[in-house]
């Protein structure tokens, strides 16, 4: 979530005595405790004051799904039509990659043409890699796909891939169009920003049921949920990219007499291409993050295999399928990044020389087509080319399961002692403390922090969002959420910041860390959730570990990046004045990198919150559980309200940290 998207007025005057204001506020909270018995409503939000928002939302959604009629067609017919549009290219992709072209449906269907042979798919991926980034990339992408075949993940992986290759373009196009509209109209931009925030922070589980009803059951609904979740970064990056197009280029476009439309499509968008490709990359990664959840509503594929393996405690099978998702993500990520970096070919010059020979003009495309034809033809005679033979498959078997068992038998007591120490001395006291806070006091403190960091508008926003959580009766669950996420984030920072610093100062370590965090980011958390439960039992501790592992990535990445980006002339100046290495780090690099590190912290909080719904699966009692219960009871209003509460916690944290980081950057003269 980008905090720069909202603009606050100037931070309050420096002369305001914030120490005094904080002092008064804390004193007020303290007084609350002293007169706790006379004002019980300040501690426990009275049930009679809650607003039955969830029932209103349920009723509204019911009307939307069953009642809304535009005359010619109903709302649901409209959404079903949208689903149909998305379904068509999906069936083509799925036929090509996974199922083969079928005549008819269900068990009566007859295959009329086989799918792409696995040899051809790997070959095409390698050709794309070669074209985009040379031999090394070709081998990397080819290797990733070869894993899918060798470890028997091919069928599932191709099902997953076919939904990704369709949902990504929809996400990219949708994001691009919304971004352009927001770029052109500041008013639209202002309306869009909060919606984007909600799209990114409301957990998917919260709106799964309405999506299923509106768009039908199956892969299309899963793809729509994926698109909703993965599109916001594309919108934000489009706006940013267009804003960053140098004024001279736009001016030049106007001078040669372009219409506004030509200006956009022929001048501004091409100029922003590199930034836009970063957005594409984000959409790809986020879409792959959704694979597990998508499989719960009928997308099938690798996500289903992971869930299915872990339900039977086949840890090895779960890891193999999980790694397949990771490798798919890495291959697609590297390919899209390479395409982003590659400068657009000067097409006239290029095609000019080979205009009469398509083979030479499009060597990669020609090779791909030739490969498909040859393998299809050969596949008819040698089935091993068409479908990877089962007898060639390998598996890690019970290796991973045995390893967890070995750790379990030999180290459980030590792990348990460590867990109990942390639980009894840190976690439980902190949880009690947060649950004991008066909600009215927390609202006041948030407002003051907002006022100090970003002015009165931020203060009002923060207070209103916090009050909303109290009003809908979710305050205690929200506090447990803050406790679980807060502790996880603190521990993630304690681990992540030193790693980031070390990686910034050592190239080899940097390379290793990159691979590890890429893996952590794309490996479905379900894969390590079950081993964690085996070693630490069901409870808050297991949930916290899973959140930490997942949320560690951004803090490492941003710390590393922030320290590397300290302007070179400042480093040189510091060296010239005789700084030691230690002084350099603590007096120069860290302070200057701090705003960037804070953005990493911000992202870490977002990741931790988005993990809540998954940790509900091991049995936490927070807002994530509330969303999960609502899903299992198909209670639309309850799920959406709890989802919004999670989103509001995220937004409060995002705005406060964003405002702080922005101010700090101004003070340091970095912006």
């Amino acid at each position: 979530m980008s905090s720069t998207a909202t603009s606050f007025e100037k931070p309050a005057e420096r002369s305001t005595n914030w120490w005094m204001i904080w002092g008064i506020a804390l004193a007020l909270v303290l007084i609350c405790y002293l007169i706790k018995d006379t004002i019980p409503w300040a501690f426990k939000y009275p049930r009679s004051w809650t607003i039955p928002l969830r029932f209103w939302i349920s009723d509204f959604m019911k009307w939307l799904m069953d009642g809304l009629d535009f005359g010619l067609f109903t709302f649901r017919e409209l959404t079903r039509a949208i689903a149909w549009v998305i379904e068509q290219p999906y069936w083509v992709a799925k036929s090509l990659l996974a199922s083969g072209f079928l005549n008819g449906r269900g068990s009566a269907a007859i295959e009329i043409f086989p799918r792409l042979p696995w040899v051809a798919v790997i070959g095409i991926v390698m050709l794309i890699g070669w074209k985009a980034g040379g031999r090394k990339l070709a081998l990397l992408a080819g290797g990733c796909f070869l894993y899918l075949a060798v470890f028997g993940q091919w069928d599932s992986a191709m099902t997953t891939l076919s939904s990704i290759v369709i949902s990504v373009p929809f996400g990219v196009m949708g994001g691009l169009l919304l971004g352009i509209a927001a770029f052109r109209s500041p008013r639209f931009n202002a309306a869009l920003t909060p919606i984007l925030d909600l799209m990114q922070t409301v957990p998917v589980f919260a709106y799964l049921v309405p999506i299923l009803i509106l768009f039908g059951f199956g892969p299309v609904s899963a793809m729509i949920a994926t698109i909703i979740y993965a599109m916001p970064p594309m919108v934000r990056i489009t706006i940013l990219g267009l804003q960053q197009v140098p004024e001279e280029i736009t001016e030049f476009g106007r001078m040669v007499g372009s219409s506004p439309r030509q200006l956009l499509w022929k001048v501004q968008l091409p100029a922003a291409k590199q930034t836009l490709m970063l957005g594409v990359n984000q959409v790809v990664m986020l879409s792959l993050n959704m694979v597990i959840i998508a499989s719960m509503i009928g997308a099938g594929g690798l996500g289903f295999d992971v869930l299915n393996a872990l339900r039977r405690l086949k840890i090895g099978e779960g890891i193999e399928a999980g790694v397949a998702i990771t490798l798919l993500a890495i291959a697609l990520d590297r390919l899209s990044q390479a395409l982003a970096k590659k400068p657009a070919p000067t097409s006239e010059a290029f095609q000019g020389t080979h205009r009469n020979n398509p083979l030479k003009a499009y060597p990669y495309l020609s090779a791909a087509i030739a490969l498909i034809i040859v393998t299809w033809a050969l596949g008819a005679f040698f089935p091993a080319i068409q479908i990877y033979p089962e007898s060639w498959e390998i598996t890690t078997g019970t290796f991973w399961g045995d390893m967890v068992k070995w750790i379990n038998i030999n180290f459980f007591d030590q792990l348990d002692a460590f867990k109990n120490f942390l639980l009894l001395n840190v976690m439980i006291p902190f949880k009690r403390f947060l649950l004991g806070l008066p909600w009215i006091g927390v609202v006041i403190l948030i407002a003051i922090a907002g006022a100090q960091l970003g002015g009165w508008r931020l203060a009002v926003l923060g207070a209103l969002l916090a009050i909303f959580i109290a009003i809908v009766g979710l305050w205690p669950k929200a506090m447990i959420t803050v406790y679980l996420c807060g502790l996880s984030v603190v521990i993630a920072c304690m681990i992540g910041i030193p790693i980031g610093i070390a990686a910034a100062r050592n190239e080899r370590l940097h390379g290793i860390v990159q691979v590890v965090i890429d893996t952590l980011q794309t490996l479905p958390s379900f894969v390590y959730l079950m081993p964690v439960v085996m070693l630490f039992r069901v409870g808050d501790f297991a949930a916290m570990l899973a959140v930490i592992v997942y949320a560690l990535t951004p803090i490492i990445r941003y710390t590393d990046h922030g320290i590397r980006n300290v302007p070179q002339h400042l480093i040189e100046a510091a060296t010239a004045t005789g700084c030691t290495k230690r002084q350099m780090l603590w007096k120069v690099q860290m302070p200057l990198a701090l705003p960037e590190i804070m953005l990493g912290l911000n992202q870490t909080i977002m990741m931790a919150l988005s993990m809540l719904v998954i940790t509900a699966l091991v049995g936490t009692r927070d807002l994530g559980q509330e969303v999960y219960i609502a899903l299992t009871k198909a209670d639309i209003g309850r799920g959406l309200v709890a989802g919004m509460a999670i989103a509001f916690i995220a937004i409060i944290a995002d705005r406060l940290i964003g405002a702080w980081s922005k101010r700090r950057k101004l003070e340091l003269g970095l912006e």
């Binding site: 079928l102 449906r105 039908g216 085996m534 409870g539 699966l617």
Partner: protein, 314 residues
């Protein structure tokens, strides 16, 4: 996972479809059977699917979430769900039936047994088991630092209901009820404890592979009656309900209402579907513990029980 050899089954399916049309059959649109994420449900669904195929119907298996599927069953995107457990799915099912868009297709013949359960090696440490009265004496044995001196009982996800918190209170058990989030977490903890031969007391249900894999017993509570759940005066505790064990639950089939008119023959066969816990348990063990393929196991059942399923589709 490959469940079928596509080409072979499609050709066979087409041939059968032709035969069926001769038998004056119904719509040739595929009947969508939902599959979830536990083995027993695969088996029941694939048996039903195979039987319907032999009767000439067109079948499609669709992966869907156990509860979220009701949205699809109501709109007709999905057609039949083969296992809806009274113990875990009754609320969602009742809510759905009330809309009038889905129908109850009757029981599967299997009963869902669920109760507090412990591994057999715990009998040494707590000799009075399986009688529930022995539990309090062993509370210390079943405790963890978080719950001590109370024992720790790992219950199912809160969404399963089950009244364990109430049961512990009504029977005066010195146990803290901890809820797992999913059954995967439940069995992960059991596996872990079993590997270490460590104390564990938790909610187990059957038919399930765990009962075949791990040796253990169910705690014997005062036997369930409807009065126990409805009338506080019943049983040992005169002031509280739930002072007894858990009921056996049915496992039912549910379908999209519109399917009745579209494939009357298929719906009749689905209503007739009956298997029992024993044969289901054996098939689940064959797949999950002996590593047999689902298709082979289902095939074996079809061969061995030809007369039974022939009667369903008559």
């Amino acid at each position: 996972m490959k469940y079928s050899n596509t080409i072979k089954s499609t050709i066979a399916g087409a041939a059968l479809a032709l035969m069926a049309s001769a038998a004056g059959a119904q719509s040739n649109d595929p009947i969508k059977l939902t599959i979830h994420d536990w083995t027993g449900q695969y088996v029941t669904t694939h048996i039903m699917g195979e039987v319907l195929k032999r009767a000439g119907f067109n079948i499609e298996y669709v992966q869907a979430d156990y509860i979220a599927q009701f949205a699809g069953l109501e709109t007709g995107d999905l057609h039949v769900a083969m296992e809806m457990w009274e113990t875990t799915g009754k609320d969602a099912m009742d809510a759905s039936l009330k809309t009038g868009k889905t129908i109850d297709l009757g029981e599967t013949g299997m009963g869902a047994k669920e109760e507090w359960w412990y591994p057999l090696y715990m009998k040494e440490k707590c000799p009075g088991l399986p009688d529930w009265k022995a539990l309090n004496a062993c509370a210390e044995v079943f405790s963890t630092p978080e719950t001590a001196p109370k024992g720790r009982y790992l219950g199912g996800p809160v969404t399963w209901g089950g009244f364990d918190d109430e049961r512990a209170e009504a029977l005066g058990l010195d146990y803290e009820v901890v809820h797992a989030g999913t059954d995967a977490a439940l069995f992960a903890e059991l596996e872990s404890a079993y590997q270490r031969k460590a104390p564990v007391l938790l909610w187990i249900y059957a038919p399930h592979w765990a009962v075949a894999k791990y040796e253990g017993e169910w705690v014997e509570f005062p036997e369930y009656t409807a009065d126990c759940y409805n009338d506080a005066a019943w049983g040992i505790n005169k002031e509280m309900k739930y002072d007894c064990g858990k009921p056996f639950g049915w496992i039912k089939k549910v379908g999209w209402k519109g399917g009745e008119a579209k494939w009357p023959g298929a719906y009749k066969a689905i209503r007739n579907f009956k298997v029992d816990n024993k044969e289901m348990g054996d098939m689940i063990s064959a797949i999950d513990l002996d590593g047999k393929k689902l298709d082979d196991v289902v095939d074996g059942w079809m061969k061995a029980n030809e007369s039974r399923w022939q009667a369903w589709i008559k």
